[in-house]
Symmetry: C3
Subunit: 139 residues, 3 copies
């Protein structure tokens, strides 16, 4: 049984979903694991990790539209506003989704479904360089 840890940087250009499945698969290849588990942890509180459909890009845009309506920017409900009108909605979106994901590895591959991709969901307007830790364990 062995472990490997990689630090992944996902650069973002403002709000939206950024797929990085390929980066995780590449690191998996470097580990040489055939059976195991990868756990991804995002080190931020205003962005999320999400597994979603990567076939029709309209799905990502509809996700964005829905969350924009659910947690509107500049909502007068919020008191934590010093970092901008998009900041508290970003924390809300993060709470409603996730910052870590765990995916089994079988026969040297991630056990993602046919249409599943791994996304970094940026919730802030501005560009960021988001940090994800990827922990692999197995053999």
């Amino acid at each position: 049984m062995k472990q490997r840890v990689f630090q992944i940087t996902v650069p973002t250009r403002g709000r939206g979903l950024y797929e990085f499945t390929g980066t995780v698969e590449q690191h998996l290849g470097e580990t040489g694991l055939q059976t195991g588990l990868v756990t991804l942890h995002l080190q931020h509180t205003s962005a999320s990790l999400l597994i979603q459909e990567n076939a029709d890009p309209e799905v990502c845009r509809d996700l964005e539209r829905f969350f924009a309506r659910l947690a509107p920017d500049g909502d007068p409900l919020f008191q934590h506003t010093t970092e901008g009108e998009d900041d508290m909605p970003a924390h809300i979106r993060t709470a409603l989704t996730a910052v870590n994901l765990s995916i089994p590895i079988v026969e040297g591959r991630l056990t993602l479904g046919t249409w599943q991709g791994i996304y970094l969901w940026e919730h802030r307007y501005q560009s960021h360089r988001r940090q994800v830790t990827a922990h692999f364990i197995g053999e």
Copy 2:
């Protein structure tokens, strides 16, 4: 330290919550693990994995009512509509919940609380055969 992976099929008969705690416990018994971790990953983007109360069935029905109001079928907000009026709400529900779960194993048992059950939440109207990968590690 050892690992085992099982593929679990959960047949669904349309929208609703389907408990499969027993299947996970059965596979745990087959592994013989006393201490460890099981990670469940659902290979779909229009259904979820959820740990919820399995005592009063009204809880599951209220969850269903709440999510139906939160992400209504046929909402004109959505552009991704070619697969039916329930498709984009299914993706939304999946984003709001989870597709993977990790549960520690102690003394040969899942460390679920007294009232916790493991559910597959089908978000589509039609029947499906949903695929869950169960990865066990421990000793």
Copy 3:
């Protein structure tokens, strides 16, 4: 490779967010692990585990305000009401967030971001003693 499991009790004094990052770090120290993974599982269906900002306490209060508006207590939509008007909203909040979290360990430390804290989110009005299982694996 080794494992350790700890049972953590988080006492709550009604609805709100209770940080227990320090308790997890203390147990990590006891394991002596340098590289690994910790998985936390909450054994309840009316409270959540959440990683959120621990800098400005207003963030936690805004999270509370948002979820109180999203899933209002005493909502006539709900049928599961025998345990009080806050009970079904508590189940909803739990479904919308999470009951388990997995965080990689690198160089003997949790790979939390600068502003990330680990919280128990109590969704019921009354005080509880909430149980969290912490499973460590690594070396």
